[in-house]
Symmetry: C4
Subunit: 313 residues, 4 copies
């Protein structure tokens, strides 16, 4: 039983890419998710919905069946997952992990539709959250999610600043424009719609200041808006540059350890390749790092002591 | 008296987070500020204002009472604050500090309403500045404010460039479009509204060039607008990356000093944790830095000792 | 024959800039491409097309003749190109390279017009792809293309996130607004037009939410839109900073090797200049790097030699 | 005469800030320029122009007199300027420098108005270029201009990419929409107005695709537009981070040289302060760098060789 569990886990876990069956399974699941999402989107177009009603029903039945089976299989094999083996209750740890929760939310709407009598349209749209199941299959996603997690504090501070500016911008526009445009700027909540559109530089144009003072104030809000738009960019850019630097340092560490005996055998090669892929560094960058490490290992510092002539390395 | 002052200061200062009473006080104040801001915003909606007039009045009385008490307490206990103990007159130094000025501005409108006969609506909106009292409670804010302070010169240069481009863009559009659209481009100040909307890429669309020459010039202004939008992003990004690098270096310095005796005792642990939180580095990054420093301290350097020739690691 | 081939290759390859004939040829080709692109664009304006019909026809005949000759010459001399000499079949490797494919696509529409009976307007626009032939002549393009290639994974992850957010944003707006605005938000595909305009912060304004809930949701989508706009900026910025750092390291490596014998002779100078230009580093930066390397090589290190104790500088 | 020339140059050159007369002169010139720019802008408002016609005329006469005198003085004292002393003809080198050309363009329109019979309105707006005279007085501007100069190649490549995308986007929209919206998408030049507004994410909304295919294509153009907007941000950010790094390195170099004798005397202090201001580094960052250099100078590498116990430094 445990053996069977090990095997199935190997097929389900997308990080081991050498297995053909596993890769085919990944491809099948990705395609099914994509079909699902497309189906939910097209279902909302009335003309299409009335014509292909049965097709959509069949797709839904099959999808829920497959996803339920997949969920059950993942929960059952979760003790084989190295990420959860350290927990006291691996299965519980897995069930509460983000990816597992997404899988659960993906199949709930179908079952909920039987238990609770909810707005069918709302349940239908909830099925769209299945698109988040695709996060499991993208290795570069983990890097972006890491950056978000690392810089969460800065992001919250940025969001707080945005709220403060929204309130100040809406209030200023309200004070200046509410007499001239009582419909659009008649209250601070009303003015917030304009403030939001301007701070985010979306600028729909359905609401704009008319008075000269309003236009001057509106221009200022627009300028501040560019700055606000810059915040997440700056946070992301510095966070990503930092993450990249730390990943290089990790690869260099590993390369140094592997080079200690002076040579890198095939087993170490595979391991380094695995680390490279896990860190998300391109082969090109990995090559450069490797050259550097190998050169500095076989020679140390470059240059010579100008006094005694011996090499510093 | 001094003992009481010390105790109250401990409760007021949000940086010491181990105290439960202090944390409850923070939570209470934050909630009150949020309620206040929401109240001012909702008051501007006429339907709500007429219905809940009394509720808003009660909220205002309570809030001003609490905030006045808070302000008095902070001023009284300010000599206990390490930031101001070095000044000749700690209380004066505190009263003129940004946070204290925000607290004062928060309660002034209420008292001003009795003294001066001002536009009630304007005073009411002034109360919104209480939202800035929340800056005290966000630790990540200090990093962003630091970046702004550091790069203030670059920001001013960017703002100056924006003014120059605004003038040039508005003038060009005025020259080209003033005959065809005398209302919207009839003078340079008028054309400035379009120029601002385009340079900030907000692009309302209420004013656009009609002539072919105007459209070509307008496109150029749009392209320059993207570049302008890039300025604050570039300044922020490089400023933040730089700040992060310097904070790491500080933590590494502290870790090295703490490791000099070879071990980190609990007192040093708490100190390092405090520094980590003060610097705004995540636990994860702090762990990585610590591993690196410990390895290089215990001899995990790579290369060879120039004295005895053996590997350093 | 091989000698003639070598000579012609020297003229065609734009990287060798000392040859006057080669540079004149480059200039001629660039001008012809630009004239071509301008011609195709102006041909679509009916008034211009009817007046200058013959001129456009002549331009097209000449251009196709020249480009066909150029393509034939490049294919014939491709074995002289160092980039392809390592392949088993250099000509095939060249023909399948991006620049060669662009050259082929540039002349195909003309010939296709005779073979296949296609929409003339579509074929005409296809000729615009000749503008991509200009990529060959810009040395700074290679750096940007390198960054795109390096960070391709991160870009795909960003694109995936955009799709997910598009689906979620459109669905939310659909749920909230479809009853009030059945034309604009009547189905998820319909709502996607608004979602796209808002997430990209383009914000046309032809479709906007009307309900209060719709406006609140729309504001959230706008805020997320700024974040999304930040993604490519962050990826590009960190990728470019990283690329620049690695290019410096390469130049430093080359300078060190050249300095090993203590002096840089004219042959090495030309080589270093070639490397500098190939790496895309400005002369100013190259000077600074050179000073640093020369100083550290001649003993300008700081600190003390661990052997004899004297200052290294 | 030469002595007088030296003295006047000292007053004119804004980099020597210890001179009160020089600083007053700067302030006077800055104010005059600002008044000038404001006057030209307000002159275009007909109501204001008719009322204050004489005031504007007086301002213009005074300004041209002062600026002409300033220009003559700067040209005469240019040999004293260290920047131009190396040239064969210092005065000619100065006259052709950017700042001098701006000063010339600032006074030309007035004189041109007598010589040539040009459109008065155009000449009037040309006077606005006086705003560029303010570039001389901003020290942080030099850093941004440096970044632009350094990364000029990358910016041009970005501009070229923008042109290519503009052509492709306009052509695609033309092909898809020209039958449905012959006025707005009737030719590629016409479609370029929409393409520009979308690629720059300005998104006026006066022209938008109507067909489903057009909306899908339009969405793609919007997505690419965000990427394009990211280009200058990425270039600027990495260029600025790089510039900052190189400036630190320069300051560290200077500090090391000054510390060689173990102490920094007042003369060296003033020099380092000058360098700090010239490089545009904040006092705070300079302090940190100084601490680091001083510590590493007095101790070298940290850590001990694990084998023979001696300090590596």
């Amino acid at each position: 039983m445990v053996q069977l569990r090990k095997v199935i886990h190997g097929k389900l876990d997308p990080s081991d890419r050498s297995d053909l069956v596993g890769r085919l399974l990944d491809l099948f699941l990705i395609t099914l998710i994509a079909i699902n999402v497309a189906a939910v989107i097209l279902e909302t177009v009335e003309s299409i919905e009335t014509r292909y009603h049965t097709v959509f029903w069949v797709i839904e039945i099959i999808s829920v069946a497959v996803f339920t089976l997949e969920y059950a299989a993942r929960v059952w094999t979760s003790p084989e997952n190295p990420e959860f083996q350290n927990s006291k209750n691996p299965r519980l740890a897995y069930i509460t992990s983000p990816l597992a929760l997404i899988d659960l939310v993906a199949i709930l709407p179908f079952y909920l539709g039987f238990i609770v009598d909810m707005d069918l349209r709302f349940l239908r749209v909830l099925r769209l959250l299945r698109i988040l199941k695709l996060t499991r299959y993208s290795s570069a996603m983990s890097m972006l999610l890491d950056v978000f997690r690392e810089e969460a504090n800065a992001f919250f501070a940025g969001f707080f600043i945005l709220i403060v500016l929204l309130v100040i911008a809406a209030s200023g526009a309200y004070l200046v424009e509410h007499e001239v445009q009582p419909g659009k700027f008649g209250s601070i909540p009303a003015a917030m719609w304009w403030a939001m559109a301007t701070l985010t530089t979306v600028g729909y144009g359905d609401v704009t200041p008319i008075t000269p003072a309003g236009k001057i104030f509106g221009s200022l809000v627009g300028v501040v808006g560019i700055g606000i738009a810059a915040l997440p960019a700056g946070i992301l850019a510095s966070g990503m540059a930092d993450l990249l630097r730390r990943r290089r340092a990790e690869l260099i560490k590993e390369l140094r350890i592997a080079l200690e005996d002076g040579v890198i055998d095939p087993a170490e090669e595979r391991e380094l390749e695995e680390i490279r892929r896990h860190l998300g560094l391109s082969k090109r960058i990995a090559e450069e790092i490797r050259d550097d490490v190998q050169r500095s290992h076989s020679g140390g510092l470059t240059g010579q002591c100008p006094h005694c002539g011996r090499n510093l390395g």
